[in-house]
Symmetry: C2
Subunit: 278 residues, 2 copies
Amino acid sequence: MREIILADHAGFCFGVKRAVDGIAEALAQTRAGWSIGMPIHNPQEVARLCAKGLKIASDVEEIPEGARVFIRAHGEALSVFKELQAKNALIMDMTCPFVQRAQARAGELSAQGYHIVLLGDIRHPEIRSIQGHVDGSIDVVADAADAEKLPKKRLVALISQTTQREELLASVASALIFRTEELHVCNTVCRATVERQDAVRGLAGKVDGLVVIGGKESANTAKLRDIGLACGMDVIWIENISELDGGWLLGKDKIGAAAGASTPEWLITEVCTKIARM
Amino acid sequence: MREIILADHAGFCFGVKRAVDGIAEALAQTRAGWSIGMPIHNPQEVARLCAKGLKIASDVEEIPEGARVFIRAHGEALSVFKELQAKNALIMDMTCPFVQRAQARAGELSAQGYHIVLLGDIRHPEIRSIQGHVDGSIDVVADAADAEKLPKKRLVALISQTTQREELLASVASALIFRTEELHVCNTVCRATVERQDAVRGLAGKVDGLVVIGGKESANTAKLRDIGLACGMDVIWIENISELDGGWLLGKDKIGAAAGASTPEWLITEVCTKIARM
């Protein structure tokens, strides 16, 4: 039988697990509830929750009056909470506590007069939710080169999307020091992302190929694939076992398995078990 | 006649000029006053002030009861102010306002619960004066390697000696981001130091030799010498004209002149005029 080596840290992070467990628990009792967009970036797990009664709205307007609404792990802007309250929605907030901390610090520091700089992907829902907690001036940067284009400001607070790398946060902070009198850096980088990435590096040289399991929308899963390739591994990225080409397995005795922070354990187990027997 | 090209920025910075002018003005009226240690790092200028009535004490204990005392540009610890008050001293505070800002921010951020990290030379009077405004926990680091040895702390404030380079402050901040939840960086680096250093670089390739004028105790003058050497210039460092070896001038038609932030204008003028005629 083929040997499967699972990365030391793989699958659900604390925040995703908390959101999924909370939604599943509530649905078991109420059989109905909404989320605005996918509550986590994994289609298979979302399908499982939809089978239990979850409905996905594309925006707030689609939510019916008085409905139960789960706020997803990435969080939502304060304006979304207000719109939901105006609809008498029953809000169940599943925002990751680490994202909540980034939101809160952004809001507090903005209120204290700081210009807010967010490090992250401007299209990512987490960044949009943090932006949505700031009333004052704000910029989003993807790297130090972006930060170098910002004008000088007296007071700047730098806050990171939780899934960014600390090295990138440090390089952006370095760039901002030349453009500020006082720079307040909140290191809101979450360990989960780094742990999953380090775990992929730990498989290098120990396996004949790496299977990365996770949603194609998941940015942190994409990074695991990139790290595997950078370590010289033969990498395949699949959402579920049906996507795995048996030919890829030929001649490979030891297979590494990695999974993003939104990949559920049942899916990891299913993929690993089937690969072992193929 | 030999051509002398004076660096674009040379000699007294704002803080030193303010201290020297203030001491000279007071001595013109009162004919007597004390400083604890040299008020600025230039023996010739200090000698000029001593001729007007300035007395130099080696420590606070040496100051007589009720005496007039000038606090030097680098500042003093709060404990020194208290000891002087206990002696009914008439304190004239000549601390550079940029150093005062670093002292104040260190004290305030410490009171707010931040562990204070100072970037600078632990033996330098400015760093000792900033340290002396902090009641809580504090570390002094010289570079990023020092910062990497510090234990992790939740709240850290990083404050710079005013004469450090911004590049060094940025690299220390980068190192601290991995060791903190929130890092508050006060960019207390003063433009005067950078301007004098850039001005030396601006002379490279334009002169046959560089005369650096300034006290041998002056750290910022030593850096001007180092930069001149790094730019490939033939450099000589003198405190006054008597130290200049005529042989060094042979075959040199164009001479650059640079001076540290504690070198008085009259000394620069004297040296330049004499070199031109030698």
